[in-house]
Symmetry: C2
Subunit: 314 residues, 2 copies
């Protein structure tokens, strides 16, 4: 993993303080070891106990705490009832776990006044997430949200997320872990996989590689990396809006790609969540001169209507 | 296929003249029949004999000519030696066939002074092309080039391409063809499929549907439709340049997504074709303050270098 060293070093001086997310699984254990080896001394190991697997989750937490002790770095632990959260917010376990993690990271960032976190996502994660989003038809909100360097707004905090391993394959991490005889918790990363992600990792990618007779992962990785940057750029092109209504003439002036994003951002600002492509396309058609619909139905008995050149939610 | 009628009608009046590409295969035969039924009378049926399958190709051409006669519309035929072209230009048969087709369409457009062509690409074509480009790592030049309405520059001509069937699935076309008892040439569309496209159509998409237990085609279609518009927008954001060099400070000011596109467009303008992601990333790194490379190798013993704030090909 030497070649990624240069980039990480030059942007992130070793004597500064950083958070690092450590589940106790192979990837985060490898990342922690690698950063320590590079001379990053002021790390704050952050571990969230997701409480999804009872005693096994507690054992993960103790394992990570010991590891932090061994490396003589700070340790920050949190706990979340992910299953309860998922039910309450009607989210998948995977989404709820991610939300809980980031809100925990944000708290740790505030407490330690340290707004940069290292995460251990690697190239296979990127490819799997890309395919997962593709299969879900995520489209509009970006095929690939993971970038090697990004910012996430959490409450009033801007958290800088650094993923030094995003171009490193799982097999190279395996090799690294074997070479250094690193111990890790087998359960920590993989047991919480959503069934679809599991199928993509264990069946679909191997099948694609078999049928197409070459390493397609590298190609998908490229596409995902490019798409992530393009997504970021497109998203920046559409300003956040707090207006309660959308101006039809202004919407019409935008190219289709930006119309869709403007509608998505606007609906979200109106607290309309879980917006699918169909809803966006119907709202978009309200701006047509010969609009085929007079109103668009939203969940929870709300509607989008057009009147006197404005589109609004009621 | 009724619901797509409105859109086609309002933008493309029935009494105007249009070209239509007809291979003789099921999809284009259905599209031709559908347009005739809608009352489009002044169609010019365009058929290119790709000369890939000897007598069978000639039979396709005769079949399409008869069909045009039956519907009492104009018929325009061309012939291309696709295999020779592919060898000469070092292209795949599929790419060479497409180039030959568009150059034939452009000639027909000029001769008939009619710059709009209907093509029979459907929803499954879109999904297959999207996956094909993904697997090839096409990324930068767009995951999905097909849109329901687009413009293609061919020489000094702007050809407007209309694909009314882009949201219609193959199964619906099958149904339409059966209902109307349409005859078509079985060979005309499918025999020339590249092996990878064939595998995507016949093995990978069915496998994905089986493993993921739902209709993933619809989701990929959505993503492809969105990506096509975003691609168009991104491409418009980077101006065409005829400059022999790239300014380093200007390049640095662009977001990464546009840097990549600017480099791609610039290299193409310098007649550097077949540019891969790696070359673009290395050229991009030339703009770094601490550039790890002094020059980037190109095919045919050419190089990209940086000197006094300029990046140029030599």
């Amino acid at each position: 993993m030497n070649w990624i060293q240069t980039k990480t070093n030059s942007r992130f001086p070793r004597d500064a303080r950083y958070l690092i997310g450590v589940s106790g699984g192979r990837d985060s254990v490898a990342l922690l070891h690698w950063l320590i080896n590079l001379g990053y001394k002021k790390l704050i190991v952050c571990h969230l106990n997701h409480q999804l697997r009872g005693r096994s989750s507690d054992a993960d937490a103790r394992f990570v705490e010991k590891l932090a002790g061994k490396y003589q770095v700070d340790f920050e632990m949190g706990a979340a009832k992910v299953r309860v959260l998922a039910k309450k917010k009607k989210m998948s376990i995977e989404t709820a776990a991610r939300e809980a993690r980031y809100s925990f990271f944000a708290k740790a960032a505030k407490r330690h006044r340290c707004h940069t976190i290292f995460l251990a996502h690697h190239a296979d994660d990127l490819v799997e997430t890309f395919l997962l989003n593709l299969i879900r038809g995520a489209g509009l909100t970006g095929l690939a949200a993971m970038r090697d360097l990004s910012t996430r707004h959490i409450g009033d905090l801007d958290l800088t997320i650094v993923r030094p391993l995003l171009s490193v394959w799982r097999s190279d991490i395996d090799k690294y872990v074997r070479e250094w005889h690193l111990r890790f918790r087998e359960d920590a990363t993989n047991r919480n996989l959503a069934p679809t992600r599991n199928r993509i990792r264990n069946r679909i990618i191997p099948y694609l590689e078999k049928i197409l007779g070459r390493n397609i992962r590298q190609n998908i990785w490229r596409t995902a990396i490019i798409a992530a940057e393009e997504e970021k750029w497109l998203d920046n092109e559409v300003p956040d809006s707090t207006n309660p209504d959308l101006s039809v003439p202004k919407l019409r002036m935008l190219p289709v790609a930006l119309q869709r994003r403007a509608i998505l951002k606007w609906l979200r600002a109106q607290n309309v969540s879980e917006v699918g492509f169909d809803v966006i396309e119907r709202v978009r058609s309200l701006a047509d001169r010969e609009a085929p619909f007079a109103k668009v139905n939203l969940p929870k008995d709300r509607h989008v209507r057009r009147r006197s050149g404005k589109i609004f939610v009621e």
